[in-house]
Structure formats: structure tokens, C-alpha cells
């Protein structure tokens, strides 16, 4: 009997391993299903609907100040709800055809008001109502943080203080997802992991496409004056609808990849969003796993919730977990990026980014020189779906110029309350949110580029900076047009990291950079 049992277990494991190999690009998977923890929170068994209202505040629904953005965000409520409903009502065969077309139609022509996800997926919610509580509560955090950032009339300091309060408000509920970084490779290592994206790549592309939108928007808004936010969405919204929804990625977009500045300031929120999105992926995979019984699905969804709940990780600290790598309490993060858990193949700050290849997040994406510490953050470049931190405006300009399509450059000026936002058109012509912007570019040693390549809100601010820095006494202020004409190409200091794509073991170019 014992031998028969062992043989059965072995065969089951082999079958699962074979099933996992279906997609061809699966990471190493555990062959056994996770087991139910003994300390599953009691609320998961609560029969109540337990609807929670968002924090009452003057900024609620300020997202509507940017109507196309608001509507695209409202549309994101539709995708998972429709797919989940299809998965639990025996319509898996229609997912890549009819369901995809329906979701795509809604995302391309989004609703003008938020959508009640539970109303769209009544069968799913009857089966997995406890999961809906986790999703709803996290989605409220998503929307309220955006509302704060789009709210006019508050200073950046007021907004950041309110986001801290929102985090506390969110964390006080038992449905809250942990703000600790979690090991993404671990969270994607179960027998069913990757099943959904392998079997339903088009629908999964839509999901990851709007996860891109849900994460890229934070740097569009963070410390950017409200009057300068909408113009950026003309670039990002177009990118979202034409490209990101249909992009085939290796892994879900991470918040710190898409909004590095926001993630540095609010790592716990960036981590919570990534953990939320990974919970979505886990649930997709569980529902798509044909070999699981209904009871096993219920159990695995509960376990997936348990893994990311704040209550599960009480007492643990960000950065801890070196002694338990690749496990539930691996809370390590890249040194430079506390708002991201460890990714597959990651070595400290070096990670593989879909579309970019291997990148070292502690260095400038353009010149490979370490990024400056502290609040002086240089600039970011958003183009072709990615957002990268760079040391200086020169790197930002030249990196944007070498990337096809429109780009957004966000850069610090001498005034901490005024971020420079440069938006390029298809020809690379830049427009600025600061009409009298003046540039300093006194080309010198690259490691000091953040000192001699800067932007100022006015000529007088430029003059004052030059007076305070005698080395730059001969520098002339450059207008936007003059500055934009310069292109110094890829710096000699740039070092490409050439390694294979960890998500696709076969030979590859390793990304665009």
C-alpha cells in the first residue's frame, strides 16, 4: 500500500511537471501544492459582504480632472472580472476569442464611471467572495493615492503626508496586503504558476497591460504640478491603448520599474501593489489549472491570499530574509530599490526588465554611473513603455532621443516644488511645462554630470547657481531649443549587462539596451 501511494505521488508530480512545461518558458516549479496554513485568518470564513468605504476626503475622485486617464482606470475593473467569470462558468475555451474581444472593446472604449467588478462576475464572487474583499480594498488604495496626487490646492508635503495616512487607513483592515517586499520568484513557483499566461497569452497581455497603466501613472503624478499631469497622459494613454495592452511580456510590470520615484518615496505602497498584482496572477493560474478540483482551487486561492496578507508578515522587516531565501518571508529588496521584492535571477540591484534587458537600478540607465544619493534625483525618462532613472538632463535627453516614439522627461530643477516635464513628439521636438526654462550643460567629466547638466526655472536662478559655482563661471544659459539640438550619443561609460533572459532560457538578445 505504501509503495502504491509513493508511486501515485511520484506520478502526480511528474504529471504536474509535464503540465507546467506546456508553456515552454516556465521557471522552476515546485511539484506539490501548497498546504493550508494553520493560522488562516478567521475573516476568510466570514459570510458577510463586509463592504468598506474609502476614506472620506476632499480629494476623492480628483482623478476625474484627467478624464481619459480616469476612464482608462475605470476600464481596468472589467478585465479580471470578465475573465474570472468566464473561468468559473465553463467558458475557458472562449477566453482568447470572445472574452478577449469583449475586454479589449471595453478597454478601448472605457466606461465613464467606475465599474462594480462584483456585478460583472457574480458567479466568481459567490465562490470566492473573500478574495473580492482583498481586491476591493487594495483597489481603493490604488484610486485614493491617485486622487491625492491629482488633487489641486495641496502642496507636495501635504499630499505625501496624506498618502502616509492612507497607508495607515488601508493597513488597519484585515484584508490589507503587506507592504513588505516579497520574493516574486517564490510567489510564481507553484505547480500551477504560469498556467494562465501560457494558456491565455492574449488575455494575460491585457491584464499586464493595464497593470502597466496602474503602475506607470504614479511617476506621472508624483510631485508633478496638477496642471502638468494631463499633458503626460496624452503620451501614456496612447502608449497604453496602442502598445502596452498587446505587449507580450516576460513578467508582470513592477511598480518600481514603472514609477521609480514614487516607489522610492513609498516603498510599502509599491510593494503592496506588486503583491496585489501577483495575487491576481496566482488566482488566474489557479482558476486555469485544469487538474485542480473545485475544493483544491478554493484552498489554493485562500493560501494565495494568506501569502500576501499583512497579518501573515507581522513582525517581519523589509530587507530581512537572507536566511530564508526564496520563501514566504524572503523580504529582501535591491539595495537601491526598497519598493521591489527580489525577482528571478536578480543579484542585488541587477535585474532583468522586460523590453530593456538586464539593468542595474543603482546606476544611471544611460551612462552606467551610480545615481546620486539623497533627494536630488536627476531625471527620469519614460519612453516605449519603460521608465528609467538617469543622473542628469543630458542623459535624459540623449536617452529619449535614441528611443523611437514619444518620450517624457521629468527632471528636478533648483526649485523642489517645480518639476520640469518635457514631452517629445514623434519627431523628438520637446515642449516644456516651464515656459522660461533655462539649461546648463557645460560638458565635462561624466561622473560629475549631475553637477553641470541641470535645468532652472528662470535665467535668474541659473545666474545664481553659476555665481555659487565658480567652476561654471563661463557657462552660458541654453534655451530649450538650443539645448534640445545637442546630442552627445551613448556615453563611453555605458556598460551593457549581457546575460540570458531568465524567463526564456534559450539564447536571446537580452533586451533592447
Amino acid at each position: 500500500m505504501r509503495n502504491t501511494l509513493l508511486l501515485f505521488v511520484a506520478l502526480t508530480s511528474v504529471t504536474m511537471a509535464v503540465a507546467q512545461d506546456h508553456g515552454g518558458h516556465q521557471p522552476t516549479r515546485s511539484g506539490t501544492l501548497p498546504t493550508m496554513p494553520s493560522d488562516l485568518p478567521r475573516w476568510i470564513s466570514s459570510p458577510g459582504a463586509d463592504h468598506l468605504f474609502y476614506k472620506a476626503a476632499p480629494y476623492n475622485w480628483a482623478i476625474e480632472r484627467i478624464p481619459p486617464f480616469a476612464q482608462d482606470m475605470y476600464g481596468t475593473g472589467v478585465g479580471h472580472a470578465m475573465a474570472y467569470e468566464a473561468l468559473v462558468t465553463g467558458r475557458k475555451a472562449q477566453l482568447e476569442t470572445k472574452v478577449f474581444e469583449t475586454i479589449d472593446r471595453v478597454l478601448q472604449k472605457p466606461p465613464r464611471i467606475p465599474v462594480d467588478e462584483a456585478a460583472l462576475s457574480p458567479t466568481f464572487v459567490r465562490k470566492y467572495g473573500y478574495l473580492e474583499k482583498v481586491f476591493d480594498w487594495a483597489h481603493i488604495l490604488h484610486f485614493q493615492t491617485i486622487d491625492v496626487l491629482t488633487h489641486p490646492g495641496w502642496s507636495d508635503a501635504q499630499k505625501e503626508a496624506e498618502i502616509e495616512r492612507l497607508w495607515s487607513f488601508y493597513s488597519a483592515q484585515p484584508y490589507a496586503i503587506t507592504g513588505l517586499p516579497m520574493n516574486m520568484e517564490y510567489l510564481d513557483s507553484f505547480p500551477f504558476s504560469g498556467r494562465f499566461r501560457s494558456n491565455y497569452p492574449k488575455v494575460n497581455g491585457l491584464f499586464w497591460g493595464y497593470h502597466w497603466l496602474q503602475t506607470v501613472n504614479y511617476d506621472m503624478l508624483f510631485r508633478v504640478p496638477v496642471q502638468d499631469q494631463a499633458a503626460q497622459y496624452s503620451v501614456l494613454g496612447s502608449q497604453y491603448r496602442t502598445t502596452e495592452l498587446y505587449r507580450m511580456r516576460d513578467f508582470m510590470p513592477m511598480t518600481a520599474e514603472m514609477s521609480p520615484r514614487f516607489s522610492k518615496r513609498f516603498p510599502m505602497i509599491a510593494n503592496a501593489f506588486d503583491n496585489l498584482h501577483m495575487l491576481h496572477d496566482n488566482v488566474n493560474d489557479i482558476l486555469a489549472a485544469e487538474e485542480l478540483t473545485e475544493k483544491q482551487r478554493q484552498e489554493q486561492v485562500k493560501i494565495a491570499i494568506y501569502r500576501v496578507l499583512s497579518s501573515t508578515h507581522k513582525g517581519h522587516e523589509p530587507g530581512s530574509g537572507e536566511d530564508v531565501p526564496g520563501s514566504l518571508h524572503d523580504h529582501r529588496h535591491p539595495t537601491s530599490t526598497p519598493g521591489m521584492g527580489f525577482m528571478k535571477g536578480m543579484e542585488d540591484d541587477v535585474m532583468y526588465m522586460s523590453g530593456m534587458g538586464w539593468m542595474d537600478m543603482s546606476v544611471c540607465a544611460h551612462c552606467s554611473i551610480p545615481l546620486p544619493d539623497g533627494p536630488m534625483w536627476g531625471a527620469t525618462v519614460t519612453a516605449d513603455g519603460w521608465t528609467m532613472l538617469v543622473r542628469c538632463l543630458m542623459c535624459a535627453r540623449d536617452m529619449a532621443a535614441e528611443t523611437p516614439g514619444r518620450a517624457i522627461i521629468r527632471a528636478a530643477t533648483e526649485d523642489p516644488s517645480r518639476i520640469l516635464v518635457l514631452i517629445s513628439d514623434e519627431e523628438g521636438i520637446l515642449t516644456s511645462n516651464i515656459p522660461g526654462v533655462v539649461f546648463l550643460e557645460e560638458f565635462g567629466e561624466h561622473p560629475e554630470c549631475s553637477a553641470w547638466s541641470r535645468a532652472f526655472t528662470s535665467k535668474s536662478a541659473f545666474d545664481q547657481f553659476v555665481r555659487e559655482n565658480p567652476d561654471l563661471a563661463q557657462s552660458k544659459p541654453l534655451s530649450l531649443d538650443a539645448w534640445a539640438q545637442i546630442n552627445r550619443g551613448t556615453p563611453d561609460t555605458y556598460r551593457k549587462i549581457d546575460r540570458p533572459n531568465p524567463y526564456r532560457p534559450e539564447p536571446t538578445t537580452g533586451g533592447s539596451r
Binding site: P47, G48, A49, H51, F53, T102, R105, P111, A119, R126
Partner: protein, 254 residues
Amino acid sequence: MRLISVIATGLLASVVLAVDHNNVDSGRPLRFDDAYSIAYRERAFETGFTLDTFRRSSPKYGLKTEYKYGFAKNQDIGIGFEPSYSTSNRRGDFGNVELSYFNGLRREIDDQPALAYRLDVGLPTGTGSKGVEVRARGILTKTVGQYDKIHLNLDVMTSTARIMDERQTTAGITVGYTKPLGYPTQFDRTLVAQFSMEQSRDRSRDWVGSVGLGIRQQVGVRSVLDFGIESDVFETKGRAKSSVRFAIGYSVGF
């Protein structure tokens, strides 16, 4: 009709956001509830204009206003006012003040329906009102088909006042039906319908049957406009009382 337009326009212009077209509360626009409370910490303001027409008397106008607060998970309390104006005697009436408590006991789980109850206490503040009126309502909500829902409401109403020729305790049953319109591409409108039987307080009459039809239209991120029409269709003894009742309302959560 002009009055309706004026009231509706005024409300739309004055209140800011909340509530959902899928969640149904009695009076908005028909008389049934679904088995879900408003959210914990949500405040909701629901108001609506009603017009009752009668076959043999002049119409009566009402303005029902209710404020609710989700004071705990699955539970809300409310206070409502329903002043009215009768054209037959050209007199206004402040109406009774109504206090309500709603408790959502469970959501729909698998094939089991959602269950809730609500208690309403009517204080005798209206002209000629006597005694305290209490209504207990049991509520069951169940999905039928893909998105449609039925809502069964069972009512028992009683009054502390003993009045000649009036029943002290009466009963009622309402079957409500909701159907989202426009799925899977539009998500802002719900059709509501009901069939109701209610025992008359008047001992000379018996059970009155009525039907109703309405729409709940989301007009803002958390605000809903509703419109409904009800009519008594039969009575087991005596004549139908109200010919047609119109209701138009606005709800906002904040």
C-alpha cells in the same frame, strides 16, 4: 411635471458623489431592498420626489429624504423624513420621522442567497399620526441567470396605536427583480421591477396587489438617479387605492 424637473435639476446640481446603481434601497425608486447594506463608514443621502395620483381625488406630492450611515460592517442606520402636500385639502404635512436599522447577515455564497433584515420605526410626527409604527422586513437576494437578481422582501408592520376600523398589524410581500442593462459594454444602468402584495390597514379592505417598473441610472462616480412608476393592479376586497405613483430620486454616497 415642471415641479419634477425643478427638483431633479436642483438635486443634481447640489450634491457631490457616491452610491451604486446595482444596489437597491426601498423607495429608490420602488419599494424593495436588496440584502446589502451600504459600506462601512459610507454616508448616503437619498432623496426623491413622489407623485401619487388617485382615481377619485386630487394628487398628493411627497418628498422623501433619508440619510444613512454605515456604522459597522454590513450594518447601517438611517433617519428619514417624508413631508407631503395634498392638493385636495391644500395642506402640507411634515410626515412621520422614520428611523431605520439594516443588518446584512450574509452575502450570496455558492447557491445560498444573501440574507438581511431591516427594522423601521416611524415616529408619530405627522398630522393626525398616532402611536409608533414598526416595520420588520426580512430580505433575501439571489442571482438568477448570469447577472439578474431577485429580491424577496417579507414585511410585518405593527402600530402601538389602536384605531377603530384599522388593523394593528399587517403583512406584506414584495418580489423585486433587477437586471443590469447594457452588459457587457455598458455598466451604468439597472432595470428594476416588482410585484407586491400588502395588507391594507383599513379593515374594510384586504390585500392590495401592485406592480412597478423603474430604472436606476448612475450619473456620477457615486451618484444615482432613479425613476419609477407603480400602480395598484388588484385588491382582494374593495377598490385599488392609488391609480399610479411616480417616483424620481437621487442618491449620493460620500
